[in-house]
């Protein structure tokens, strides 16, 4: 098992290499020229050319790639072409909000969704089941910005409970953090609650027909215990998977939510960098997120064996 974990952690290297090459090629395919963004509307072609030259964008691709990898190996993520600030610092600043909100979202989603899904499966085809279903469908199909706007309208503007926008790091106090992060997390939660609740329901239904559920009842276990201790763990693997991939998605940054709530997160950074063709930032971002994904996926995989001992690697 320890060996497995080690192998998986080492596997980060080829994954990142794959990602690096892929992203590099992808950027090559994408039209766009950071020089043009920097120079603005009135720049002359000659001026653009000089800027390109100065930024090293005229070198052949493999030279750029090699020098970038060289830089990486020295632990240097480079500097933004657009703002000339070090990429590492930029990402570090932006990672905090995204991670914190992702975590809060997942916590809230799981806390809400699992009981909802369990209830829906237990009361299969009852009013509760259909209510969970309806809520889930809305969670899927209402655009996040609508949810966000409505929450802001109600909780910020009407009731004044939460600020309209902005982010306070956890270092400024948990209260301040939650005060700012609650609405955006709640907005995202609606999607994930929907997904996780449905997934929970689907898998619980499968499990509730099993013999060991009858055994648990024969022991005199109350329904709650039957559902949560006996059934849920057996249904856990696919549920964990959606939670895990959901979390992975969230730490990649969620542009719309970050925009609506004006959160300086990774999502906006990535989109801005892509739209500005800020290559070093895009490359570093994707490398970083892929690293995080490998990590999150490793944790999901390990959790499988924890929840279902029959699964072995």
């Amino acid at each position: 098992m320890l060996g497995y974990i080690l192998r998986r952690i080492l596997a980060v290297i080829p994954v990142m290499l794959l990602v690096a090459v892929f992203v590099f090629l992808l950027l090559r395919l994408t039209p766009g020229d950071p020089a043009a963004i920097i120079a603005g509307d009135m720049a002359t072609p000659a001026q653009l050319e000089r800027i390109r030259e100065a930024m090293g964008l005229n070198q052949p691709l493999h030279v750029q790639f090699v020098s970038w990898v060289g830089q990486l190996l020295r632990g240097d993520l480079g500097t933004s072409l657009i703002s000339s600030t070090p990429v590492a610092g930029m990402i570090a600043e932006r990672m905090g909000p995204t991670l914190a909100i992702a975590l809060l979202t997942i916590l809230m989603s799981v806390a809400l969704a699992i009981p909802m899904g369990v209830l829906a499966a237990w009361k299969h085809r009852s009013g509760a089941d259909y209510a969970v279903m309806t809520f889930s469908v809305l969670g899927f199909s209402v655009p996040v910005f609508v949810t966000g706007y409505i929450l802001i309208l109600v909780f910020s503007l009407k009731l004044g409970w939460f600020p309209v926008q902005g982010y306070a790091p956890i270092s400024s106090g948990l209260g301040a953090f939650l005060h700012n992060a609650f609405l955006p997390a709640l907005t995202l939660t609606t999607i994930y609650v929907a997904l996780i609740a449905r997934m929970t329901r689907a898998n619980m239904l499968e499990v509730l027909g099993e013999d060991y559920i009858r055994t648990a009842r024969a022991k005199g276990a109350p329904e709650k215990r039957v559902l949560f201790r006996h059934a849920l763990r057996n249904a856990a693997v696919p549920i964990l998977t959606v939670i895990g991939t959901g979390f992975a998605l969230l730490i990649g940054g969620v542009v719309v939510t970050e925009t609506v709530f004006n959160i300086p997160g990774i999502g906006r950074l990535t989109v801005d960098a892509i739209l500005a063709r800020d290559y070093p930032v895009i490359q570093a971002m994707i490398l970083l997120t892929s690293f995080l994904y490998v990590l999150v996926n490793l944790i999901i995989d390990l959790s499988y064996t924890f929840f279902d001992p029959r699964i072995r690697y």
Binding site: P31, A36, I38, T44, I152, V164, D272, R277
Partner: protein, 503 residues
């Protein structure tokens, strides 16, 4: 108790590039006005006024001597010297089109002592002060010589300024927020502030610019009292602010922006002047502006190439544009030109709100006239890259795109990029147009304002006839501020000196 006064402002975009010589991006220019000062500046009559320096012109109009005023220091405490100014001007002139024109005529530019700068031209150049004092695109900002020595195509990394605010580097988050502190040792001029000229008195401790890509968020934040100011408000959202007695919505400066279409002269169908004219005839400004802005209070139908409300603007020959379009005329012109259905590749950027609607409306009107329009949507980055290429449209080129200018940027025939007819050296679209070049030479040669105005009239007629651009009208996006903010200067560039914030 002493409380820090911070003005939190939502600007029209996020600040990313910090070098005002590298880019013409407005947000960088706005940033530069915060932390740098300029030698001379324009007042509300577009007249150059002394700012860091006053000037003397020799009789023959060839020698300009600028004298720095006393008490000027950089944010590191060092005094501003003529050497700094010269280095800054030279770096600026490498990138600025106007600067290049002056440099072409420059014999020498040097610091004669700590306070004086002597600029000697080889021939007189009447618009010299206008160019040096221009408030937009690339104004010549004064930075320390060590910073100005950075090659013009490399971004500066030292942000020591000379202006009324100091850049707080630690709090800078590119594209997200930027903070400025009052620079206590800045010595304002005594004259009252007037546009970019006059005394820049700072009455708050900090100014924080935050970027909110979602304008509704900004509106909500303003309503919630979390921010003080929104630079550009979408007109459609005005009703949301109307009921709030703490908020004022106003047009800060009336000249505003010009939106316009540029055609590609190199490739069919727009290599044919008749077809260009047909395109112009098909377009109704009213439709474009209504879709874009909505409320007519905030837009102005204007057929003037050089802008309405400017000294030289004229609307001659633009009646189809301003009077609802000449669809019949357009159809007739197309017929006459024998338009064969060659597709018109209209590049439409989608990620910039200010440019997203016009292409949709324009392409509908062109289609109605009989054009075969291929509207391709792309992000702005792709557009700016693509528009720089001269390839045929089918192979990655283009026929037409739309962009916006600040009216002061295009109000002068020399600086208006559309009025460059030098083929490959011209602005994207590359018209080869000797007439317009001749007209501009006439304009430079004109002795007085009346003469300039006369030439401008001809420029207008010619630009419209040859469709160097299709003006789509003017608009001003209103700003919104909480009423605690007062004393804002009505200049095209939003500036934060002179502003007061009530407790």
């Amino acid at each position: 108790a002493w409380a820090e006064k911070t003005v939190t402002a939502v600007m029209h975009s996020g600040l990313r590039v910090l070098d005002p010589v590298m880019t013409t991006a407005h947000i960088t220019r706005d940033h530069a006005y915060m932390i740098y000062d300029v030698l001379i500046a324009q007042d509300s009559d577009f007249q150059p006024q002394p700012q860091m320096a006053d000037w003397e012109i020799s009789e023959d109009g060839k020698t300009y001597v600028f004298t720095l005023r006393d008490g000027l220091t950089f944010h590191d405490g060092e005094p501003v010297t003529a050497t700094d100014a010269v280095a800054s001007l030279k770096r600026w002139a490498e990138n600025d089109a106007g600067g290049q024109v002056i440099m072409d005529r420059t014999e020498s530019l040097e610091a004669t002592d700590d306070k004086t700068i002597a600029w000697v031209l080889s021939e007189p150049f009447v618009p010299m002060l206008n160019v040096l004092s221009k408030q937009s695109a690339l104004p010549p900002f004064i930075m320390p010589a060590r910073v100005a020595e950075t090659p013009a195509d490399e971004a500066i990394t030292d942000y020591t300024g000379s202006g009324p605010f100091r850049f707080v580097e630690e709090e800078f988050q590119p594209g997200v927020s930027v903070t400025y502190e009052k620079y206590d040792d800045y010595v304002p001029r005594d004259e009252p502030a007037d546009w970019m000229a006059g005394g820049k008195h700072v009455n708050v401790d900090k100014v924080k610019w935050v970027n909110m890509p979602d304008i509704q968020t900004a509106v909500n934040a303003l309503l919630g009292g979390e921010i003080d100011y929104i630079e550009q408000l979408q007109v459609d959202l005005l009703p949301l602010l109307e009921g709030d007695p703490n908020v004022t919505v106003e047009v800060r400066e009336p000249t505003g922006m010009q939106t316009m279409t540029r055609l590609n002269f190199l490739h069919p169908p727009f290599d044919d002047p008749k077809i260009r004219q047909a395109a112009l005839a098909a377009i109704s400004q009213e439709s474009v502006l209504a879709a874009m802005i909505g409320n007519p209070e905030y837009y102005q139908i204007c057929g003037a190439v050089l802008g309405c409300g400017t000294p030289l603007g004229s609307e001659t020959d633009a009646s189809t544009l301003t009077e609802g379009g000449g669809m019949e005329k357009a159809k007739a012109l197309l017929e006459e030109a024998g338009y064969d259905g060659t597709p018109v590749l209209l590049m439409a950027p989608t990620d910039l709100v200010a440019l997203a609607t016009q292409p949709v409306v324009v392409s509908q009107m062109l289609r109605e006239a009989g054009f075969n329009v291929d509207m391709q949507q792309m992000d702005w980055q792709t557009l700016v890259t693509r528009r720089a290429g001269q390839a045929v449209p089918a192979e990655g080129g283009w026929n037409m795109f739309i962009t916006n200018w600040m009216v002061p940027e295009i109000s002068n025939p020399i600086s208006n990029p559309m009025l460059n007819g030098r083929g490959d050296d011209a602005w994207f679209g590359w018209p080869t147009d000797e007439t317009i070049e001749q007209l501009k030479a006439d304009y430079i040669a004109a002795e007085d304002e009346a003469g300039q105005k006369e030439v401008s009239e001809e420029i207008q007629t010619h630009a419209i006839d040859n469709v160097l651009l299709v003006p789509l009208g003017q608009y001003s996006l209103p700003q919104a501020r909480r009423n605690v903010i007062t004393g804002m200067i009505e200049s095209p560039v939003p500036v934060f000196w002179n502003i007061e914030k009530a407790e």
